[in-house]
Symmetry: C2
Subunit: 212 residues, 2 copies
């Protein structure tokens, strides 16, 4: 099912992932492959399968130039990566609910009565949630998507760097999207590493675990 | 490096993941293996490598009984899973910063002057951040960890279900932890599927992607 896969070794993918800040500028990624990476990452789970993640793929020289002043200390990634993926949460993900659940019925993956019950239930509740809670749900789900995307990128032979440091209040409107509707979650640079990322350490598992 | 791995096929792991709600009650997971799963999941990236994820592993019958009234419509997962993993964000993750960065220096993964500069920089900024922003960072990073944990579980031959429906204001204090410090992000049930999860559909990649 997955396309263009170069590395299917799960252990290698998760133990070898590094935050890569400098990329080989000569390595571009075709639009079709970027789309495949996004599609595969979207196999992540989400609240009520509403999939509130959206992605601005900044890959043209013009797009990179527009983004550059907004990425603070992350200009190297912007300048050298094949693309900068601005991961957004959609606070109006309910607009796609019927489409998602109808497709599930059409493909025989959900009985029609289950669809009817669940869509009614979600639509009676979700649109009325406070905006802050919708943003929180969208950010958590979009983060699940982002993690899976970083691993999928490695399977495709590419590297990434997740970034929190950028102008959150400007990045959505700069690319002509509605910044009331879409909230930025993080930016992932993607490309072929020119310089290996640093190895980093983790706390011992016992220090982060409470047994009950 | 990874222990107890039964399935190392990345494509199978991500395409075969389902939200599993009913588990084989006879299949327990040893404490050592649960700890290995948590350790492997913590290879996820985080802001400034501060690793703000924490996990309450609810695996004893007493723990499950205490959790049961707090999981709303998710009692099947609580009753049948090997464990319920309550994923928390630590709003005081700076308490571990020196330990993390010192270990990196000791293991030769970071030059001492880089450590000094970064620790000084982070400690001059992070503790003063507004509580809401610390919570947001912790939730995003803990979600990256949670996604990786769901995939690591599959590599170990287990299944999971991410849950947002539970009593967020009670779950931390019920297990005798400081609910000012730790914020719940989601619960993951983990165990051996008794009943296969449902296949679900995803929006076409083009509908969630903006090219710039």
């Amino acid at each position: 099912m997955l396309e263009y896969i170069k590395n299917n070794d799960f252990t290698n993918i998760i133990t070898g992932r590094r935050s890569v800040k400098l990329y080989d500028e000569n390595v571009k990624i075709a639009k079709e492959e970027l789309q495949a990476i996004i599609q595969e990452a979207s196999l992540a789970p989400s609240s009520a399968n509403m999939q509130p993640w959206r992605v601005i793929v900044v890959h043209s020289p013009e797009g990179k130039n527009k983004l550059r002043p907004l990425v603070q200390f992350n200009t190297r990634q912007n300048d050298t990566s094949a693309a900068m993926l601005i991961i957004l949460g959609d606070t109006q993900s309910e607009l796609y609910l019927e489409k998602i659940y109808n497709t599930a019925v059409e493909l025989g993956k959900m009985p029609k009565d289950v669809r009817d019950k669940q869509v009614t239930q979600i639509m009676s509740m979700f649109p009325q949630l406070p905006r802050e809670l919708k943003i929180e749900i969208a950010k958590i789900d979009a983060s699940l998507f982002a993690m899976q995307l970083m691993l999928v990128a490695r399977a495709h032979g590419y590297d990434t760097n997740p970034m929190g440091g950028f102008e959150r209040d400007k990045v959505v409107s700069t690319f002509d999207l509605d910044d009331e509707r879409y909230v930025p979650v993080m930016i992932l640079s993607i490309g072929k590493a020119k310089e290996a990322g640093h190895e980093s350490v983790r706390l011992p598992g016992e220090e982060i675990t409470f047994w009950r």
